[in-house]
Symmetry: C2
Subunit: 635 residues, 2 copies
């Protein structure tokens, strides 16, 4: 027997457990640890630095860091211009909005953002989702002004929603968007966006507003007479060029700047081509007028009319969650590579303010897109100052160069979008999911096919629902296993996993999975009964049932009732029940509900070995002696 | 070191794991075990007996059992008549339907039911819920025929839904209706039903169709001028009499038949009173005409018009789930008392057919109500034959006695309903929940107040959502704890629970809660980092992180990625990571995803003791020697 015993101290107070649970739920990263041993002035300074990270890195900033940030900033600016125009076309808003959206939000993020690597910009999936949701109420062609104002409003709602999540420390919500869901969602989105680009690539004029594969392909082939082979040839050349530069980057990572600059090259070449062919009959379609000047103020255009609110709310909240998931996940993954930390809730506040301020200055939804952030990281950025450089670059572009880009051919934009999207279809990840976890693969497939064949939000929701179902199924059917003693040791392990482990005669040792909740009470009772029946069916009389609760961290009242019922059922069968290693919370509930009094403190043990020994002390049988001899042979 | 090692056998095949998971999810009670060693003829016989339980008990049936069943059957018949009429009034359908509903369904259950104690009948909560849902589309006053047909249709839908759940082995759905939810729901329903009875008790004519407390009280007090003191006095006398018999039963359980017969006594007294006062000016309101004759066929009235389908579907499915939860839970709890088993899925099929057949013979929703089943059990019923006796009793009543009950005063019904409902408000249970588990108490309160102040289905849904949220929160924030070695033993236990447990120097031993899923990957990473920071903050260098996975029965791909990230982060900090006791499924996923290759097989241990020893073999430090001395002193 071990000298230590189960600790039956009186349960912790409700306030203590509530406080500890709230802390684990909302502050798992313990963000205020650094304030503990500070004086008031130091505390104020740290608080300011905590909420406005620029004060944290600016004092240590030096020229050497700036040289890196400048280079990174210029690189991402050259990417931001073509991407901004392209994605604005996807969102069916004027292309200049795309340029605006890389200016003001980048400034805000440079001040509030806590990640060193995130580069701010618009994203394709969310742009299409906005067009899809708002477009279902207001047509971007029939009433472009109202449509644009609703897009600003959606961005404002996104911002408020994101900031609220951050302040309320509800980063936990974003955790429920699983990696499998995102893989499938991105893949599906990439497919439908690529197909949409056939419009630009083939020069089709009449198109559908729906996003699913069937509608889009139908629209493309119905309008075969509109196909223009000149546009298609130019587009394919551009696409091949872009894909080649991407391939080059994959082979020689040092040449990342080639692929980063390629879209800009395509735009410039396209502009030249469009400029020189502008008087021909079959002239190439271009994005059209881009006026000089900085972001106009748009706060007065925010439209909270009850007629449109359901649509702006839906667009704002869904894109808000997706944008957070992308931005935070990307910031985190680069931070992990450098052994740094990113505070998810702080990032949410930064993204939130970025969108609130942005929506007041003619910007639509921005986040930290994967492609831009990767380029930023590869260009060697050191701090969020690279966003500042991009903002200045964008400002100069808006003030002096914007009109030049009005010659950008639509076909160049389509090629840029297509090449970006093809990179988002992650075959390897899907195959990895298939190999490791079939359920994760199903979640991924659900998102992929849902997005591709129904609508983007339906696909996303089906996938999230499947993922939640899995978590609930886990709770409803916790794994439980029969334990056996490993030869020549004191360890009790799963008999299915370790074939050599064998149960002591007359004893049924069971390890329950976690937790014992209302959803699995019936299951656990049935499962225990089945083991007893099986053992008895095999001619082994069961005298003791030992429940190892090591893995059980939580129990509710129905769970306790289940244990009481099992105890009662076993009593009728003249079987003794023993509890092994109840954890803190479980033991507390057992004491509060008087279960401990019912089963008796002498039936609760600290480890399996003790419980087995105690079982033999009470039941001296012929079998036991045999087992004792075997044990003494071991010792 | 233990002689046994972690078993790195190649992972099981997908088909094997899928089969075992499906079995645990859908067949946890292993219903076909009895067919295993049977010949074809025996198998056919057992299958028939399995699906039609009457073939199981009828061959062993004898006169002695029949004597008990006869007594029980007569007792529940005397309860079924007043209850049937009362609850039919609650559902706002002709009272005769209530009598029909104890005839045909009881016959069906006697053949198909697997519980020996369940007595079939209508229930108050579902009756009101049907009235509420269907009444929101079709008024029972303006179009009583259509309303009645929709009630039959809802019962038919309930039956199909219940039978389908049973055949698909989806009993798991009912498991998600927790005991806390049911306690709160029943309490809230009891309150609103009691308040509704004020209408009958005070003789008010104008009333509301809403069910919430505020509307009902408003309706009662607005129509003060309609109050009739004569009715109120009679009602109160009846109510006091009924409550007294209930009190008597609680004090002397042998007198259960007094309280079982009391409603019948009230009805008979009420009828006599109404009969003799029938010519007075202020005559007592009675239920009105009840025709002789058995259930008319109603299959031709089932109405699947798309206009009403959403309402009948909603009523059918919600009441179906509640009825199942009540019927199965009650059958189970009485079976447990007698050390018998009730197969939930089989019961669902029985309830389902009962309602399908019932709805074709002018019956509305029936299940195994608590009050009737308890009376049946206390009367000593031996088999489902007591339902057969009740069906015959009901048939005789319908054929010969029905018109007599047309004098039943509404006030007597109100008193019967109120006294039944007051027994459903389970203060003690709510207090027990409050003491043992505050979250369960909140779930209960949500159902109670939701039902009492909003609507019945809203209350139910809020409560179920809260319960699901809890299960999800459990998955999102699994309990993890720091382990320390108990003095003079080889056991590692939670340092918070066992203050004397202390961590070996340089080693951070962590026990993770189950499971590692996408929803908690970030949390687990942060939590591990926080422990390392805390230890380092306290001046203890961490050289090894030992993750005890004993409690982890499941992991998904994001979970594996989390472990990879933790491994990478620890490598940067020059900390070694070791895995202790991975369970079967977890180890399989680790092998499939090559995590085992990344961390190395030599870093995976069977028990904490081995992992700690191995850590010291690799890191000979001054600290270690101190710890070694301490250990040798122990051994």
């Amino acid at each position: 027997m071990n000298p230590s015993q189960v600790n039956f101290n009186s349960p912790r107070k409700f306030r203590t457990t509530l406080k500890s649970k709230c802390k684990e739920t909302f502050f798992p990263d313990d963000p205020f640890r650094q304030f503990k041993n500070e004086k008031p002035l130091g505390k104020a300074k740290k608080t300011l630095q905590y909420f406005v990270p620029i004060f944290e890195w600016l004092p240590q900033y030096n020229l050497k860091m700036f040289r890196f940030d400048l280079l990174a900033g210029i690189t991402i600016t050259s990417l931001a211009i073509p991407q901004g125009i392209s994605y604005a076309k996807l969102a069916e808003i004027p292309p200049i909005i795309g340029l605006y959206s890389s200016f003001v939000p980048a400034l805000v993020y440079a001040i509030l953002g806590s990640s060193k690597h995130v580069a701010v910009g618009t994203v394709a999936a969310c742009s299409l989702l906005i067009a899809d949701t708002i477009g279902s109420k207001v047509s971007s062609k029939d009433d472009p002004t109202l449509y644009l104002h609703l897009v600003f409003t959606a961005a404002f709602i996104t911002g408020v929603f994101q900031a609220a999540l951050g302040f309320l420390r509800l980063g936990i919500l974003v955790d429920f968007l699983s990696h499998s869901t995102i893989t499938g969602f991105m893949g599906g989105t990439a497919i439908i966006i690529c197909l949409q680009q056939l419009k630009g690539l083939l020069g089709v004029n009449h198109f559908t507003t729906k996003t699913d594969v069937v509608s889009v392909l139908h629209a493309v082939f119905k309008n075969r007479h509109e196909w223009k082979w000149e546009t298609a040839v130019v587009g394919l050349v551009f696409l091949v060029f872009l894909l080649f530069t991407r391939y080059l980057r994959q082979r020689k990572p040092k040449l990342f700047w080639v692929s980063a600059m390629a879209p800009m090259v395509v735009v410039v070449l396209g502009c030249l081509l469009a400029y020189f062919t502008r008087d021909r009959k079959h002239s190439i379609q271009t994005v059209g007028s881009l006026h000089k000047g900085l972001n106009p103020i748009s706060i007065k255009y925010l439209n909270f009319d009850a007629k449109y609110l359901p649509y702006t709310l839906k667009a704002g909240i869904i894109t808000g969650i997706i944008a957070l998931a992308e931005g935070i996940a990307i910031g985190r993954s680069f931070a992990i590579m450098n052994n740094e930390q990113v505070d998810g809730n702080k990032e949410m506040i930064a993204f939130g303010f970025m969108n609130i301020v942005g929506s007041c200055f003619s910007c639509y939804l921005t986040t930290g897109p994967f492609s831009k952030t990767a380029v930023n990281y590869n260009s060697g950025c050191k701090t969020a100052a690279s966003n500042l450089v991009m903002a200045i670059g964008m400002m100069l572009t808006l003030l002096f160069l914007a009109p030049l880009f009005s010659y950008t051919p639509l076909v160049a934009l389509s090629a840029i979008i297509m090449s970006a999207m093809l990179g988002l279809i992650n075959y390897e990840e899907a195959y990895h999911l298939f190999k490791v976890d079939k359920f994760d693969f199903c979640i991924c497939l659900a998102a992929f096919f849902g997005v591709a064949f129904i609508t983007m939000d339906t696909g996303l929701m089906i996938s999230v629902a499947l993922a939640l179902l899995r978590a609930l199924l886990y709770v409803a059917r916790p794994a439980a296993c029969k334990l056996g003693k490993l030869p020549d040791s004191t360890l009790y392990r799963d008999t299915e996993q370790y074939a050599e482990a064998s149960g002591p005669p007359g004893i049924l040792a069971i390890q329950l999975g976690s937790p014992i909740y209302y959803a699995n009470g019936n299951y656990i009772r049935e499962r225990i009964l089945r083991w007893i029946r099986n053992d008895e069916g095999n001619g082994k009389a069961v005298k003791h049932v030992l429940l190892d609760l090591t893995g059980i961290t939580s129990i509710d009242t129905t769970g306790i009732e289940t244990l009481v019922e099992v105890l009662r059922m076993l009593e009728v069968k003249h079987i003794k029940m023993k509890i092994v290693n109840p954890r803190l919370e479980v033991l507390e509930k057992m004491m509060k509900s008087k279960f401990v009094d019912k089963i008796g403190k002498e039936s609760i043990f600290l480890c399996m070995e003790d419980a087995v020994e105690a079982s033999y002390d009470f039941s001296v049988t012929a079998e036991k002696q045999g087992f004792e001899e075997q044990r003494s042979g071991v010792a």
